[in-house]
Amino acid sequence: MTATLDRPPEAPRRSRTALRHRLAERGIDRQLLLLVPAALFVILLFIYPFLYGVGLSFQPAEGGPLAAYREFFTDAYLRDTIGTTLGLSLPAALLNVLASVPIAYRMRGRFRGKRLLTTILVVPITLGTVLTAQGLLNFLGPTGWFNRTLLSSGLVDEPVRLTNNYWGVFFSLVITGFPFAFLLVLSYLSGIDPTLERAASTLGAGSWQRFRRITLPLLAPGLATTFCLTFVLAFSVFPSAILVGDPSGTTRVISIAAYEAAYVQYDYALASAVAVLMGLVELIVIAIVLGWRALLYTGSTAGGKG
C-alpha cells in the first residue's frame, strides 16, 4: 500500500484505512486471528456441550421443564448427595490447606533435599485417584499393614474399619490433595520477599509475630486460591468414592449420582440436571471464598524495587 503525494488515495481505500485506524486504536488487528482456533475449540467442546446439557436438563421425558430438578430435590437419595459431597470435600480441602501452611512455612527456605522432598510429594498426584484407591484398599484394609501395626502395638483390639466407608475416601482425598495444596502454598510462600520478615525482626517482632503479622496476611490470598483449587479436586471425587468408599451410602457423592443417571438409568435429562447442579454448588463455594479473598490485600509481595 503505497501512494504518492500528487495522487491522493481513492475513497474506498481511505475508508478502509480509517477503519483500520479505528480498530488499531482499540488494539484489534489480524494478529488476534491466532486466538480463533483456541476460542473456537473452547466454544465447540466446552460451552456448546455445556449449554446442550443445560438444555437437556430442561427437557425431561415427562413432567414439564423443571421435572428433572424437582426430582433431584424431592428424592432424598439424590438430594443428599450434595451434603455428602460437601461433607467430604470441604473438610478434606480445609485439612489439606491448613496442614500445608505450617509445613510449607517451615520449609520455605533452601535446604538440602528440598527438591527430593517435593519430588516425592508429586508422586501421589501423578499416580491419580485410581491407583491410590487400590493402595488404600490394601494398606488400610482389615488385614493391611496399618491395622496390623495398630493391633500389634496394642492400641486397638480389633481392626479399625477404614475402607469402604467415609474414611477411605477421605484419606484418598488427603493423599492426593495434600501434596497439591502443599506445593501451591510453598510456591506462594517463596514469592514473599524474605527481607520483609527480616525487616520485621529488626523492628522487634518475634517469630510468631512475624508469621502472624507479616507472612500470613501476604499469604492469605494465595491460601484462598489454594483452597479453591484443592476443593475443586476434592469436590469432583469420583473413582475413589466408588472404589474405597461406600458408593450407595455414606460416600454416594454427586458425581456418582450424575454418572448413574446417565449410564445406569439412561435418563439424560436427570444426568444433565445433576451435572448442572454440581457445577452450580461448586461455583457457589468458590464464589464465597473468592469473595472473601477480594477483601484481602492482593498486591505485590515484594519488599520494594528490584
Binding site: V123, T126, S236, Y268
Partner: protein
C-alpha cells in the same frame, strides 16, 4: 543470614518436631499405600499376614498382561496422550502468545473462558460432552477420547504458556522486525528457540495429566479405546472375578509408567509446576 538463624532456632522447638512428625507420618503412610500394592503384586499368596506367604513370583504380571490385554491398552494410551499433547500445543501456543502480548476488548472474558474447563469438575462437563460426542458419532472411539481430553489440556497449555511468553521481552520481537524480519521469520528464528523450554514443559505436564485423566476418558471411551487408568478401574471394580494380585500387578505397571514420565518430566520442570503455574525463581 538471619533466615538461617531462624531456621536453626525453629528446629529445636516442639512445634518443629510436630511438623516433622506429621511429614514423616504422611510419608510412611504413602510408602505403605504404594508398598502394599507392589508387595502384593509379587506375592504368590497374601492373606492375613505381614508379608506374602509361599514365596514371590512375577507370574501375576504375565497374567495381567494377558488377561487385561494390556498391549493394545498401552498403545491406545500412548496414541491418545501424544495426540492430545500435539494438538493442544498447536492450538494453545498461538492463543497464549496473543493473550500474553496484546490487550484487546474482551481479553479478560476470554481468559476466564479458558480458565473454566480447568475449574469445573470433569464430570460436570464430561457427561454433556460425552452426550454431544455420541450424538455426532465421536464417542466410543479414539477420536472421542482425544477430543474430550483436549478440553482441559488446551486451557492448561494456555495457562502455562501465557506467563512464560510474558516473561520474554517483547522488545526482542520488535528488534527482530526492525532488523527486517517478517512475521514468519520472527516466529521461526527468534520466538521458536526461546519458546522451546516452555513448550517442552507444557507438553510434559499435559502428557502426565492425560495419562492420569480418569473421568473424561472413562465417559467417552469404548472397549477399544480405553487408556491404562480406565482399564485399571474396570479391573478393580470387577474385583472378585480376577485374582487380586493381577490387579495389583497392573496397578504397579501403571504407576511404573507414571513414575518414568515423572522422572522425565522433572528433568524439565520444577515439581511445583506440576500443580501450579506460579513462577518460581531458578535455583
Amino acid at each position: 543470614m538471619s533466615g538461617v538463624a531462624t531456621r536453626r532456632r525453629l528446629s529445636g522447638s516442639p512445634l518443629a518436631w510436630l511438623i516433622w512428625g506429621l511429614v514423616i507420618f504422611f510419608f510412611v503412610n504413602l510408602a505403605g499405600v504404594i508398598g502394599s500394592v507392589v508387595v502384593s503384586s509379587v506375592g504368590e499368596r497374601w492373606f492375613d499376614t505381614w508379608l506374602p506367604t509361599a514365596g514371590y513370583t512375577t507370574r501375576w504380571y504375565g497374567e495381567a498382561w494377558q488377561e487385561f490385554g494390556l498391549g493394545p491398552v498401552l498403545l491406545t494410551t500412548l496414541e491418545v496422550s501424544l495426540l492430545v499433547v500435539g494438538i493442544s500445543v498447536l492450538i494453545g501456543v498461538p492463543a497464549s502468545y496473543v493473550l500474553a502480548r496484546r490487550s484487546f476488548p474482551g481479553r479478560r472474558l476470554l481468559y476466564l473462558l479458558f480458565l473454566l474447563p480447568i475449574l469445573m469438575p470433569p464430570i460436570t462437563y464430561g457427561i454433556p460432552l460425552a452426550t454431544v460426542l455420541y450424538k455426532y458419532g465421536f464417542a466410543g472411539n479414539l477420536s472421542g477420547v482425544v477430543l474430550a481430553n483436549l478440553v482441559p489440556s488446551v486451557p492448561f497449555v494456555i495457562l502455562t504458556m501465557t506467563p512464560f511468553i510474558e516473561q520474554i521481552d517483547p522488545a526482542i520481537e520488535r528488534a527482530a522486525r526492525m532488523c527486517g524480519a517478517g512475521t514468519r521469520q520472527v516466529f521461526v528464528r527468534i520466538l521458536a528457540p526461546l519458546l522451546v523450554p516452555g513448550i517442552l514443559a507444557a507438553s510434559i505436564l499435559v502428557l502426565v495429566r492425560t495419562v492420569g485423566m480418569f473421568e473424561l476418558t472413562f465417559l467417552t471411551a469404548g472397549p477399544d479405546s480405553q487408556t491404562l487408568v480406565v482399564a485399571l478401574y474396570y479391573s478393580m471394580s470387577a474385583a472378585g472375578i480376577r485374582a487380586q494380585q493381577s490387579v495389583d500387578a497392573m496397578a504397579v505397571m501403571y504407576s511404573g509408567m507414571m513414575l518414568v514420565l515423572l522422572v522425565v518430566a522433572l528433568r524439565f520442570v520444577n515439581p511445583t509446576q506440576l500443580v501450579a503455574r506460579v513462577k518460581e525463581d531458578v535455583d
